[in-house]
Amino acid sequence: MIKETMTSRERVEAAIELEPYDRVPVAPLMDVMFASRHKGMTVAYGIAHWKEGFRAIVDVFDEVGGWDAMILPGYSLSLPPSVASGVTAVLTQGAMIFPGQDTAVSEDSQPQYGETERLTVEDYDEIIELGWRGFVEKNRERFAPFAPEKMIAWTKRQTEQYTKEGETWAERGIPSLCGSIVESPLMFLSTKRSLTAFTMDLHRIPDKVEAAMDAMVDEFIEHAVEGARLTRIPGVMLILERGGGFYYPLKIFERFEFPYMKKMTEAFAAEGLLTVMHFDQDWTLNLPYLLDLPKKMCVVELDSTTDIFKAKEILKNHMCIAGDVPASLSSIGTPEDMEAYCRKLIDIVGKDTGFILSSGCTVPADAKFENFKMMIDTAKNYVPAH
């Protein structure tokens, strides 16, 4: 056991601000899936019953003796009370197929992405003409056929739950890092057009795609800032997957993803908000660009497909890295495998400062509890060589 000289909050803040810490902090991206199953509920039940689902997360926290931070406080949404924010959330959530809500996904599955062309190629023109808010308000019934007052009540309830989740952790001395969640315009359009259709759009009508992104980004920033203000958690999770080097060459990244990442992270930093960049898939090629984002105001969260050791080399004096225990290691590995992997991360990526040990993406629904506990224990107990 390492002799701890810092609180969880101090430890996490030190990692983010690249100051020395007493040990590497540990903060899994924990949501209701793993916790529900561990507590004997189906995932569908946990999602549908917020109090019990969130309670399951807290119970898992207690069962393993706690961890240092919540990257997201739970699994509610943080939304400004408006039709536009509600419709945007429904469009995003609508691409997700949740257990219990569709027979395609079993009651005990984790939510899955059913990627269909929810936006058409013709929609670009209207987004450019009306702006994002105008576009979703005009097309509300197409995407979310609910009365406006019902939509606003839903956004309020989600935000109240989100705030409560954050307060629950704060009472335990555990910081939550993200007060709202937003996708980059590229991520949003790619997942709502579908990967293939959006890739063809970039090939055939790049100027139009860029103009639509320009018409979206400011409102995405406003929504995220307002969400963080409402939940009183000074951070934003920026969801990124599709714009990186796994999918696209740098000429695409440089034009359609990075300028928006930069604008968003700079806007959040100007508001005093941390940005946790949630990178799914391999972004190794794009890592040097991150040096041009606000120093010590971003966390790069990796899922094990980006080279985390390369990330340390490049970013060690610029921003904190979180990750990247592979999902497969959590679900089919052994505790010994887990311990060895976490030790390696702590030795190399955790050296000096700037690292938060975490699951690569969310803790999988079928993670083995003993593996999960080993990740937490290794952070608390392992004394690195350096």
Binding site: T196, T199, S331, I332, P364, A365, D366
Partner: protein, 210 residues
Amino acid sequence: MADLADALANLDEDEVRRLVREKIDAGAEPMSIVHECRKGMDIVGERYKNKDYFLSELIISGEMFKEAMAVIEPMLKAGQQSDPISKMVLATVKGDIHNIGKDIVATLLTAAGFEVYDLGIDVAPGVIVEKLSETGAPILGMSGLLTPSFESMKETVKAVEAAGLRDKVKVIVGGGIMTEMVGKYVGADAFTNDASEGVDMCRRFAREGK
């Protein structure tokens, strides 16, 4: 003027459409047009390996190939389609409904000359075994994006064994979170999280099986 293979490799959609139409109008043998398109796809694959191209170019060229085939295929004589370099069965396994990676690989395999039996998503082991038996396909590709897909893949490999087909069928698993550990766990012969590499592995299996 670029030839058809070059136009496809350079992702020039208009030129590919024009050249396909021109060749058809000039009475070219339809199968020769298919071969030119495949040559273009091979060049795309080479550029991908050299890191000049990315997944996006595989997607774009795949869409162009499909569009060209939609024009050419009705003109192929009966039997010409059925001269594949190998048959293979492809599926996203039970419990997983992700189709994007599988669909990209299906297009690339078809372009490479495979006869692909794409069973879709959320496919039970029994359905996969039945299709392997029915077609005699010597290669099985299984896709999954979520950790629970590992169990489904493992069950499917066991079902293939139970049906007495395992020594006749090479199994490859693919998906964003595939690792060597997963490949071993499910009992696959190969694993990949790279569509183009997956096609090369299947080519190798096809050659070994001849």
